[in-house]
Symmetry: C2
Subunit: 498 residues, 2 copies
Amino acid sequence: MTTTRTPAYTELQQRQQRLHHLTHLQSIAEWDQSANMPAKGSEARSLAVAEMGGLLHQLSTEPVLKTLLADAEQEDLSSDERANLREIKRAWSASNALPQRLVEAKSLASSRCEHAWRSQRPANDWAGHLPNLREVVALAREEAVCLSEATGLSRYDALMDLYEPGMRSAEVDRVFGDLRSWLPDLIKTVQAKQAQETVLEPVGPFPKAAQRALGLDAMRLMGFDFDAGRLDESAHPFCGGVPEDVRMTTRYREDSFIPSLMGTIHETGHGRYEQNRPRDWITQPLSQARSMGLHESQSLSFEMQLGSHPAFAKLLSPLVIKHLGDQPAFAPQNLNRLLTRVHTGLIRVDADEVTYPAHVILRYEIERALMEGEIECEDIPALWDAKMMELLGQDTRGNFKDGCMQDVHWGSGSFGYFPCYTLGAMYAAQWFAAMRRAAPTLDAQIEAGQLQPVFDWLQTNIWSQGSRWETPELVRRASGEALNPAHFKAHLQARYLA
Amino acid sequence: MTTTRTPAYTELQQRQQRLHHLTHLQSIAEWDQSANMPAKGSEARSLAVAEMGGLLHQLSTEPVLKTLLADAEQEDLSSDERANLREIKRAWSASNALPQRLVEAKSLASSRCEHAWRSQRPANDWAGHLPNLREVVALAREEAVCLSEATGLSRYDALMDLYEPGMRSAEVDRVFGDLRSWLPDLIKTVQAKQAQETVLEPVGPFPKAAQRALGLDAMRLMGFDFDAGRLDESAHPFCGGVPEDVRMTTRYREDSFIPSLMGTIHETGHGRYEQNRPRDWITQPLSQARSMGLHESQSLSFEMQLGSHPAFAKLLSPLVIKHLGDQPAFAPQNLNRLLTRVHTGLIRVDADEVTYPAHVILRYEIERALMEGEIECEDIPALWDAKMMELLGQDTRGNFKDGCMQDVHWGSGSFGYFPCYTLGAMYAAQWFAAMRRAAPTLDAQIEAGQLQPVFDWLQTNIWSQGSRWETPELVRRASGEALNPAHFKAHLQARYLA
């Protein structure tokens, strides 16, 4: 970045830098809230975070920004600067599309809904949840209308654009439609095949301290930089913090070590993306991770593309034995079977790689119809029951807590996020297909414990690119083609039916 | 607090609330920096904290505040509101007395000086430290001039007023002069007495996890609310965080458990003061701890008034045995002897209750002369050597690292803070004298493990008062008299010569 820029762009850049610094404090406070904060700190923390949220919104919507953006468009900028300006403008449009009153009302309603949901879900209390959800949905629809007016997109697309910029439901329909056509049969075939296999169950308990040490070793194997991040515990695992200091969390169950181990490997994928964003642009939007789907493509590259690879189990096995002691279940082949078992269950977050997309398709179809005004909140349970039966053969009637009340997303006002999970899985499969074309010996290298070629490819094609390219261009540059669900299908067939 | 206030005061109150919320994020980030942050997070964190520092300064110096303060003075306020307004005005005066340029220059120079000091101190490199210190001193003197002009106080008094509002060097001279007259002899007498006593040394090592569990039990004994705070580790122990969520830290040495145990009890005194500040006023200056000396009076009430009490060792002994195993050194009488051993050493932070004031008097006399322009930086070592010999009989010639380079205060730009440590010790002795007058059975209660009367007295007289009263009034209300060094003398005589 040169310093001889003409005024408007330079001014915008400095303002972004200020936002970067203030957002740093917000991110650390939010991580702390999940990882450290005692109960009585909650109210003061919520007020502090809300105050900062208001301040950040105020700084993002100052009237002068409109002029600065228009002036900067006319300035002589490098291609990177122009990409940065494009991203500044995208964030500005989203912030300015929403009246402050709506932002506050939605924040309030979704806090209330989420808070009540924490006790309503275990009580299976759909009737209690419904009025709260209706209020959140009404405000999310208002948000969708504002964003739709600002962008010219459909209401649902305007919301999805916040998480996966450039992705449209026509495209999601195309790739999910393909998936939907072969996934239910694939699930049945895989389950029939696996029914013939013997799998040894690990014998616990697995003490937390040993699991933590195992997780740290797995993070080292995956190249996490511990001078620029940490691993802690929280009720719901996530990857937070700031790119210069990534704060990953996990949770431990003493009866089973696999959820924490694979969860940690998953978050490490997110973490390395953040740790390796373009350093020279770290305070600017150009450096930011491209999208939620791209982010998920990194966590799933680690957890699924590598994690469920039979050769990867040979790398993991000695670490498991080192920390949890030797037992027959920890032999590589058995470990790989444990990591690739397919079950048709009710709960998305517990789902395996093969059934997961079914959970996502179901939610996508419902939330899209809800935001486009084609259905109402009271229609959700019946649709849920029908789609669960169709896609996964599961009966969820009357079981709201393990059905449509299981996720926090809708109650907390997030609509348009769910597709990112499966888009991420598809992108990840596409990256590994591209890697294998470029380096046909890739699988032999993984088997030999050489993961660096994988990391190098991701570094070159994804991490170091930040938000320099819009997603379709990034995908094309990285893999030579547009998003292509055939790679995901080929991956599942090779991994689960070979 | 009623909500029907006239505009100016209400506006000021709302602005204070905003500062409270933003400061919350700053405090948590600063705690995290010491307790959690990995090395590569440092630069981004410093920039984020500096950005927020600038923002807080900007919010504290907005021109409209002058008018609001003047208008509020004319409004019909309750006595609490008037006290709150007095404290708002005091903070405003201090912020506005300093030009932004000076604040930034001093922050930069002291960061640089402190950073270099970290390697210069172990290298005993006074010559290297001197030019950096000169720069910091020059800027601190500028600061003192600005504050002196704004307050009408002498330069040193204007600096000390930032930490101990209302305290003047004439008063410090009075009480330290008294101390100085009997302390060196008292130290000799105590050492002669203790030379006759047998003290068993505890046999280590003491594993960190066991020491941590012991520290947590000690915090429970001292009434710390773990739903509103935590204990973590840092290189330099402190009590930070926010009143609603107090973050204490300690450090562990496996060869000795006493420094961490007593350090934890010390910080618990700070922590309970913060946890029990007036709740209805928590966002306002009226709720704030009165001063650094008052704060230290709480930590020393816990660490010294209770901690070195022979009866308290009977409460501590079973906890030590529970966590570190039984050994003869842990018997109550021996434990009390370990906790009250007097050594004339070179290092302030390692000093015991009896010799500590000598370290403070020495620093007070030097820093006062330095700020009043009576001496220069190059005069410090000779003065240090002379005063160490006079007060503690120690030869420090040529030993800068254990002499005038041992503390971070001056290099980091803090002048006027040191007296607070010993003022705190004197206040603590005065509180316990008042408690015993009100409840002659206090020592028997402590012996019986009933610490609640102590906590109740502190809660009623100190914690719940926040900054409602100026210090002399608070001291008079709590103890019926002005600061009186006789109580500290009586305490030391009773504790160490009885």
